[in-house]
């Protein structure tokens, strides 16, 4: 029997880009948001057009992606899931070409128990052939062949069309439930 294959996004799923964006906004704009202010709002809505352009310019340099904290519980959950599943890391890296090297280094540091041949740097995730895709952006599920699982984030609180993963500690039980459907 072939193993169930789980594709996992990086930013705001296993890599805490949000904390890094918040600290960038704090130092660049002296802006500080409460969780309530952020709920349901994209970075564009929070920062405005010029602010978002400045953030993207910072991200385009690439090193932003090297120093992100790991999302709480991601390492333990993926290590456990990897025993019985094929895990692929599938990240939309093509928007920030200089991030490629740094994303790879980050994965090598924090997820050294995964096979680098299972790292996928892409753009349009409809190219991914997997049973599940854990991602914080529901747009990636639209043409995805498998079942999307929405990783909980401030910007997706209003999305209700997909099973939601609130915390990595719930990943194994959620996936087992979805497999039984």
């Amino acid at each position: 029997m072939t193993k169930t294959r789980i594709a996992v996004d990086m930013d705001e799923v296993i890599a805490d880009a949000l904390t890094a964006m918040r600290s960038w906004a704090r130092s660049a704009y002296q802006r500080e948001w409460t969780d309530d202010e952020m709920a349901g709002r994209s970075m564009g809505e929070l920062l405005g057009k010029d602010g978002l352009a400045a953030l993207h310019a910072h991200m385009h340099e690439g090193e932003f992606f090297r120093h992100l904290p790991v999302i709480d519980g991601a390492q333990a959950a993926l290590r456990a899931l990897a025993a019985d599943h094929e895990i692929f890391i599938t990240t939309a890296a093509m928007e920030f070409p200089l991030s490629l090297k740094f994303k790879r280094e980050w994965l090598d540091e924090h997820f050294d128990f995964l096979n680098p041949l299972n790292f996928v740097f892409c753009g349009d995730k409809s190219i991914i052939n997997a049973d599940f895709l854990i991602d914080d952006h529901a747009r990636h599920f639209r043409r995805f062949v498998g079942q999307g699982i929405l990783f909980d984030g401030h910007h997706n609180v209003q999305v209700n069309d997909f099973p939601r993963l609130k915390h990595w500690r719930d990943a194994e039980s959620l996936i087992e439930n979805l497999k039984r459907r």
Copy 2:
């Protein structure tokens, strides 16, 4: 109706890594092979264990991938195919992490008519969801969901299990024939 999706490998399919390897062998080892000597033989068989290690060390620096010639006919064929098909570039870049940046730059230079969101840098190509995969290594077809098309190369002359693309000029007619099967 959704468009037929064609995934296309880079090295020895659209990027002429072989010519670059031959000129590396010429300058590093004063080795020169005829096409007959190369037929059916891998770089490991041609160079020996130490030679292959030296070639890989050179490739690991990454810049090797920036200056490859374009395979004859690849641009015209992909430009024509892109009118009626979804084209993705799917390259096993994870073995040479420093190649990521250079491969992206190469694609931006030589295939600027393709959408960068359709570039996929991966390792294990069973993750690719496409109707066709044009690749010079049949091992990538083993777990691939679609139809493999073997791009002709010196190292795969003995492989007979897949439709063979001898030259890019034949790509459109071969794919139309395979679609009718």
